[in-house]
Amino acid sequence: MRNLLGIIDLSEPTEGLGELTIHRTLGAVPFGGRYRVIDFTLSNMVNAGIRNVGILLNDRFGPLLDHIKDGKEWDLNRQRDGMFLLPAPLRTEGGEGITSNLINLRHNRGYLEKSRQEYAIFSGCSMVTNLDYEAVLAYHLEKKADITVVYNQTQDLAAYPPYTAFVTAENGRVLDMALNPMHCTSSKISLNMYVMRKDLLINLVDHYSARQKRDLFTEAIMPRLGELKIYGYEHRGYVGAINSLRSYYQHSMDLLRPEVWQDLFYTHGQINTKVKHEAPVRYLEGSKVSNSLIATGCTIEGTVENSILFRGVEVGPGVVIRDSIVMQKAKLGPGVTLRNVILDKDVTISAGKTLTGDPSFPMVITKLATV
């Protein structure tokens, strides 16, 4: 897979994630007890043998840089190839926002040209999944496609807009694509991953960025549906779309099902992340833990049900956590009760407080807040 270049796009919309993305880009959103969303895309690429990964940076990327550092955890601190951070231009013509992948690709055209790989996979990072990019490229070559798009129909991803639906012919050729259609007739939902020849990618970037277009998929690929051979590759594994608080909460809770846990973390190789050398979890006498995902560094004396605890959370006696997500280093005073709550990193909840959200609308407590 040395012939495949990986490009990770961080420009997907994050408005739906509310407080979780105020200070961080989508890729840096904590997920699954010890990961950040980007870990999945990055690990999938590395597990497929991709050795050259470019990450298109837009804004709020501080926490992301702190997380990925030099790419060592993904074995991407290489003498040749490795991980490349590709910042967007600080100022764009017209002074508009910079969350545009076409502008960013145009700005980093030199990197694309210089890379020795013949093929490129361009991927967003909102889709949390464990998939085999090697198989995607093999399919792409077998179909002699111009572009191969990856889709999934096992999860009800259309429940979490924005999404793109595909209609494909029996041979896999994509006949139609639609963005958030009012009447969705297809269960084939795009995972925002596209394989094509690197030359074609450069051509699309040159042509459309010169015509003031901003988004690779909607403004450079969709309009060419008729003339390019676009094929759909079906990925059948578990997929979680991280694009709204509701989907974030739902897909987090899915991890509590052993079959999803197994699928997401073990199928095509392990998902790597920054290692923090936390101690194993201590369960004290009297702790009540059920149906929960617990990261290392936690100490539990209270009750934890249907919840996810990130690293280093201390659950003292009398503390009750139900149906909640508690991120790193939360400090929970004695007698705190949480239900349907998402606590961002380093939150302090003072003694005796009860916080309750709703499964369809979990309460979010912002990073560093004190309640």
Binding site: G32, G33, R34, K72, E73, L255, L256, P258, W261, L264, F265, Q270, I271, N272, T273, V275, H277, E278, A279, P280, V281, R282, Y283, L284, E285, G286, S287, V289, S290, N291, S292, L293, I294, A295, T296, G297, T299, I308, L309
Partner: protein, 412 residues
């Protein structure tokens, strides 16, 4: 090579024969410990946390696991330019080569390595002890005393002094007398096997020791007594925190159990003194809807659907529905099948216990059992499958070599 004030030499070549089947294929320092660590992590992390960044690891017995585990030392932040960690196996010289004959000989054979860094002090460490210690404060003590060697000591119960090298000191901490495994001890201050030497002095004693054909080439038995005889200033540095030699099945099990005490003496969760280890990145542990976990330590990648009481469960181990694990040490990758029972046992890496198997159950009246350790701990080798019909009586130490010869009555 960069000049260093201190070079640490970590003795990791021991077979650990008293750990029996647990060290059949790996050296004692590589034995898994404490849910996610290997024994050597404690000493390596101590070096890293003490600011010592030139460490030689002397390997000899079954070094494969240890070599690949240590790698270039990145996990302990010891991948450093001009130093870091170096694995030092015995090697062939112009006049032939030989195995490490003893602890002192192992260091003697690596004098060139130490000289590369031209250090003032050499820290000698064992790779088979569990403790957190700041070697830099011991070095400050060593310097303040103007010692030729400083030996870290810890008080042990008087009835156990026969297992240790003990020091009799004067009121200033100077060592007056040294007894190696004495029948009648004059002190209960035991050597922890942690020494700081002035390199110049140590070098000359190592050379003299090597020239003596009757020497065992051992620090405790030869070098220290020789230095004492020569009236070199030897000082004892008293260590008062948790320290445990995990050289036996009993002590390995006990040290694991120590970690799950309500208020453990050795805290693993200390952000100022982290114990680093090399681990594959596995997902957080998943505790199922009917699981019951109490008084235990569990690591990443574990899937617990059954009952775990008072046990240490290592990375990636799985406990199925209805299984019951009590007072046990379950090493990495072990799978305990549905309804299986494991009591007071150590289960070796990647072993599969099939559904319904019983391990460590009390003997039936009249049943003959050979208990091989004080605590009556049952030990199952790594990488084996315990069949579902198997009933293994408390205190049995089970190696696959003995598999076919099982007494009938052990099969339920």
């Amino acid at each position: 090579m960069q000049k260093k004030e201190v070079v640490a030499m970590l003795l990791a070549g021991g077979q650990g024969s008293r750990l029996g089947i647990l060290t059949k294929k790996l050296a004692k320092p590589a034995v898994p410990f404490g849910g996610k660590y290997r024994i050597i992590d404690f000493t390596l992390s101590n070096c890293s946390n003490s600011g010592i960044d030139a460490v030689g690891v002397l390997t000899q017995y079954q070094p494969l696991t240890l070599n690949s585990y240590i790698g270039i030392g990145s996990a302990w932040d010891l991948d450093r330019s001009g130093g870091g960690v170096s694995v030092l196996p015995p090697y062939v010289r112009e006049q032939g080569g030989e195995w490490y004959k003893g602890t002192a000989n192992a260091v003697y054979q690596n004098m060139d390595f130490i000289d590369q860094h031209d250090p003032k002090y050499v820290l000698i460490l064992s790779g088979d002890h569990i403790y957190k210690m700041d070697y830099s404060s011991m070095l400050r003590y060593h310097k303040s005393k103007g010692a030729a060697v400083t030996i870290a000591v810890i008080p042990v119960p008087w009835e156990e002094t026969h297992r240790f090298g003990v020091m009799k000191t004067d009121e200033n901490g100077r060592i007056m007398e040294f007894q190696e495994k004495p029948k009648v001890a004059k002190s209960n201050l035991a050597s922890m096997g942690v020494y700081i030497f002035n390199w110049k002095e140590l070098k000359s004693f190592l050379e003299a020791d090597e020239a003596d054909p009757n020497s065992n080439n051992d620090f405790g038995r030869n070098i220290i007594p020789a230095m004492l005889d020569a009236e070199e200033p030897l000082y004892a540095f008293a260590f008062k925190e948790y320290w445990k030699d995990v050289g036996t099945i009993d002590s390995l099990w006990e040290a694991n159990m120590d970690l799950i005490a309500k208020d453990p003496e050795l805290k693993l969760n200390d952000s100022k003194w982290k114990i680093f280890s090399l681990n594959q990145t596995l997902p957080p542990q998943l505790v199922g809807p009917d699981a019951d976990v109490q008084g235990s330590l569990l690591s990443d990648g574990c899937l617990v659907l059954g009952k775990v009481h008072h046990s240490v469960i290592f990375t990636g181990a799985q406990i199925a529905e209805g299984a019951e694990v009590t007072d046990s040490v379950i090493m990495p990758g072990v799978k305990i099948g549905e309804g299986a029972i494991v009591q007071k046992a150590i289960i070796g890496e990647n072993t599969i216990v099939e559904p319904g198997a019983k391990i460590g159950v009390p003997a039936r009246p009249g049943e003959k059992v050979e208990i091989s350790n004080e605590n009556g701990i049952t030990v199952i080798e790594d990488n084996v499958t315990v069949p579902k019909t198997m009933r293994i009586v408390q205190g049995t130490v089970l190696s696959v070599a003995a598999w076919p010869e099982f007494p009938e009555e052990w099969i339920s």
